[in-house]
Structures are given as C-alpha cells and as structure tokens.
C-alpha cells in the first residue's frame, strides 16, 4: 500500500518479479479490494505465486513513526513485518513511510544478536559502470559511536561480499581527510579497531570526492553524514542535468544534439538518484527489510523485490552473525 502511488506501482512490480523468478512467492499485504482490482489488470501470471494478506490500515506518508507503531497495528506495513517475524515471510519490501518502517522493523524484528543498531545501506554508482560502492548508514541513526561504526563496517563488508560477490571488499571510513589525525575521536577509534580485525579488508579513511572512484567497495559513516552525502549526490546530479538541458536548448544546433542525446543522458543520470532505481536495505535486524523509494516506479520497486530475494538467497543476516562473531565485538544481548 506504501509509496506515492501504492498498489498501482507495487502490484505490477510484484507480477514482474514473480514472472522473472518462478520460485518466488509473494504475500501482498493490504486492502484486499484494491489489490484484487489491480491484479485483475495485470497480464498472465501464476496465481500460486501470490497470496493476498488483507489488512485494514495504511501507514500514511506523514504519520509519525511513534504513531504508526502505536496505532497502526493492522497496517500493511506492520503485518508484513509481523509475517517476517513469525517466519511466514522471509523478507519485507516497502515503499512506505521511511521513519515508520525503520521504527516498526526495529521494534518487531529486533536487532541480530550482538548488533547494537540497524543501518540503512544502499549501493551507489561509480566511475566504473560494472561496479558499485556500498554506503552505510544512510540515515537510520543520527549519531553512531565507534562500537556502532565498527559493526557497520562488518555488516557492509558482508553485504558487498554476499550480494555483489566481491572477494574481500575494500572497506573505508568516510572522513574529512585521509590523514590518520583527521576526524572525530570515535572515527579514529573505529579505524584502530578495524586495523586489528584481520577478517576485514580495511583500507583507511576516504573523502567525499573519492566515494565514486572505486577506491572502496564499502564506505562507512554515521546516518547523518551518509544521508547528507546521498542527498547531496542527488542534488548535484539534478542540477547538472538541468543545466545540461538548458545548455542544449540554447540554439538550433544544440537543440538537435540535445534530441539525439536524450536517451543517453537519461541513462547516464538515472543511477545518480540511487534510491530511486534501487532499494536500500535495513541491515542488522533479525529479518530482511528492503526500503524502496516512495517515488519509485514499478521497475524500481521490482528491483527492490529482487534485492530482497538476493539477500534471502545469500542469507545475509546469518552471514552477519558469523562475521560479527569472528570479530572483536560480540556482546550477548
């Protein structure tokens, strides 16, 4: 039911996903009438791959997280997370209210044993078209101390290794300089701990201008910094795109070139709004949760579903437990 356009987007995405993956079974949580109606509009698909799970409430995009948690217990969002909790579903994919999804997922699923905080992680484009860089946290936590950042480094390394098949992912800490003396105490402490963990391929500090140049496979920062960096990336890309369009509309010759370049430019700029074309995952929980952009189209929402499938197949939460266990920090919680 979530996202700006609800089932109008999520149902076609669901059908596209099951048509690509014959073993995938999707449970569609939400208003039964609306879902049935949307399904009736779709092309051929196997009924057996879909179950409707009727719910009576919807978390609105402007609901406060605490309100959603307290008063929307029969919402599509809450129920889909309950299904993950009870083991009836293996992952939850939502384009709904981000804050409510984080709060509810954290409350319902709880963190993995030993994990202090969940993190929002997504892959971003790089100079090399074949490669991505994972960045976390992108906004699930305002501030992160060195315990939390250290765990994020391990979780990010697992994600890159499992979902992109990168051997010994290069892990870096985002900082305001590359020198060891730069940055806050908690970043320096995290660096020291990562140097001592031989399981992690820690490569040092990285600056904002090096996020996209394949120096690192995983970049770790607190949620405030990650959120600002991600959104700045989006803002710059939009500004460049607009300025380019304006430049190309200046005279007849540039207008013709603009026409010829339209699809090329769209293809170039699309990945620069990363959460629009891909899902971001909330990792560190006892279950898989993928957040699609509220504004996602059905291709983007389908990508988010496929991302969730990948994490289920690669058993990301289990791998995180193993990796954390072999690291220095395992507290029994």
């Amino acid at each position: 039911m979530g996202g700006d356009k609800g089932p109008h987007i999520t149902i076609p995405a669901a059908i596209s996903a099951i048509n690509q993956l014959p073993l995938l079974h999707l449970i569609l949580c939400g208003d039964e009438n609306i879902i049935t109606e949307e399904l009736s509009k779709q092309q051929a698909y196997k009924d057996s791959q879909i179950t409707i799970y009727p719910t009576s409430q919807v978390v609105e995009m402007d609901d406060k997280p605490a309100f959603a948690l307290r008063s929307k217990k029969d919402s599509s969002m809450r129920k889909s997370l309950d299904l993950v909790k009870s083991g009836q579903a293996q992952a939850c994919v939502s384009a709904g209210n981000t804050g409510a999804l984080f709060a509810t997922a954290h409350y319902v699923l709880k963190t993995l044993p030993g994990v202090e905080r969940p993190a929002l992680i997504s892959s971003l484009p790089t100079h090399d078209e074949e490669q991505h860089v994972f960045m976390l946290d992108l906004g699930a936590n305002v501030f992160c101390d060195s315990d939390v950042l250290y765990q994020f480094a391990i979780m990010g390394s697992v994600m890159a290794e499992e979902t992109e098949g990168i051997d010994k992912p290069k892990v870096a800490l985002l900082n305001m300089g590359e020198e060891e003396i730069k940055g806050s105490d908690h970043i320096k402490q995290t660096a020291t701990r990562l140097i001592n963990n031989k399981e992690i391929n820690y490569i040092g500090f990285i600056e904002g201008n090096d996020i996209f140049n394949n120096k690192a496979d995983v970049i770790v920062c607190d949620g405030f910094v990650g959120n600002v960096a991600l959104k700045t990336c989006e803002g710059v890309a939009r500004m460049v795109y607009n300025k380019l369009q304006l430049t190309l509309s200046r005279n007849l010759m540039t207008k013709i070139m603009g026409k010829l370049l339209t699809s090329t430019l769209k293809k170039l700029f699309k990945p620069l709004n990363p959460d629009q074309y891909n899902g971001a995952s909330l990792i560190g929980l006892r279950g898989i949760v993928v957040k699609s952009h509220g504004n996602a189209n059905s291709t983007a929402f389908c990508s988010a579903i496929l991302e969730a499938v990948k994490e289920v197949e690669r058993q990301v939460p289990e791998k995180i437990i193993t990796k954390l266990g072999s690291g220095l920090l395992v507290c029994s919680k």
Copy 2:
C-alpha cells in the same frame, strides 16, 4: 609561496588583481629571489602597488599544523598573517597547506570578541546561474555544538548580505529531514535559537538534495558534514563529467557532438568544483583570511584575492561583531 605551483601561479594572479584594482596594494611574502624573478616575467604593472616582504621559510603542503605553527615562524604564511595582525595588511590570501593556515590564522589573529570558533565558508553554484549559496562550516571544525552553529548562522548571513548584497539572506540548517523532530539535539537547539532571533531570516531545515535549488542563501552545518557535502559534490560532478565524455566518445556522431560541446561542458562543470574557481574564507577571526585551492590556477587565485578585497571593503569582521552583538549570544572574551 603556497599551493601546488607557488609563485608561478600566485604572482601572475597578483599582477592581474592590481591591474584590475588601481587602489589595491599587495604585499608579496616569500622568497625574494623567486618573487623578483617571477615579477620580471610579468607584463606592465605599477611598481607602487607591490611590496615584497622577504621570508626565509615555506610551510610545505604536508607539514603538520602544529609543526608549522611551532617551527615555521618566518614562513610566508606566518608572516602574512602577522602583517594582518599588526594592521600592516588588511587581509591574507593563501593557497598553502589548509590545516596549517587554519591553525596559524586562529593562533595569530584570534577570534572576534564573542565568537567561539572560526568557520570556513564558500559560495556554491545553484540552479540559477545568477545566484550562489553560502555554506559553512566546510571543515574548520569537526564538531560544532549549538552555540557554535548559531554563531555560524549569523556569520553566514553577514557574509551573504555583505559580499553578495542579498537582502535578508535566507538561512537554513542542513539536516537529514525537514521535519522539526529530525536530527541531533544540538541542531534542534540551534533551530530554536534562530527562530527567536528576529534579525536572522531563518527558514528551517534543509536536506542535501536542496542545497543547490535556491531554497536558501546560507546553509549551516558542522565542519565534518560540510566538508563531506562539498567533496561529494566535487566527486559527483567529476564522475558525471567523465561518464559524459565516455558516452560522447562511443561513435562518430557522438564524437562530433562531443567536440562541439567541449567548451560548453567545461563551462558547465567548472563551477562544480567550487574551491577551485573561488576562495573559501575563514571567518570569525580578527582579520580577513581567504584560502585558495592548492591546485588553483592564476585566474582562481586572482578570484581569491578579489574575494579578500570585497570582504575588506564590506568590513565583514566588523559587521559580524555588530550582528552578533544584536543577537542573543554575546559573551565577553
């Protein structure tokens, strides 16, 4: 002497500046022989607008700030700041070691009465070609509490008003969401204080994707976040530029278009590396200090000189004192 190319860049920039401003007098601090030699290569200029101030040391680009402060007391950097301190110069412009410049400027000049911390501020491009947005702090301070952020908002407002002539500049706080409940406690406290200061046109929180769209004239954040945002902007712009070049080199038709668009693209992307084409100012000190990019060419270094002149003419430090005095926070220091 500073920057990657030293007097080879700074001397032509100096000559260009004095030729543009007949009332400008520049004191060139550094190695007398090198300066004299570089000056002899220049086109006509008025001798009376230039003084050479011989110094025996140079702060190297990799000198630690503390080392520069302690052991380079006869460096071009130190002496130029000493001249500002003694009133013999009205501003210092340097392309040298950033950390050393901050530390030395802070030590030599001290902060303005009542100012807690100096900030690094620069103007960034926006969607509107005629307008800029000022952002601070860009890296002079790792962490800033609400006292410091509040003062930065006031100082940024003065800069925008005085150097760009913006009436009642719109001031925003960079945050991970626009809602009042978002972000850290110190950001929320800063917001409360800015709402209560009727002298400041505070417009609320702003997200990374809105930095460039003219919602705000001044954006305030701590140095870590500002540095990451600025450098991410630089990184994205470089990636887009490279990908665009690659796209345009794919076939004969795109190659021809690429050739035709070369100068247009260069013009478009140049302002996206803001500190390369313009100086960043260290404000909040008892004197004017402008930092040019280490990699600046002579046009960029000349811009930094002209920026310093503008701040002298508009009496930015004096205006900051006045504005801070009329604000809520005046502590006698």
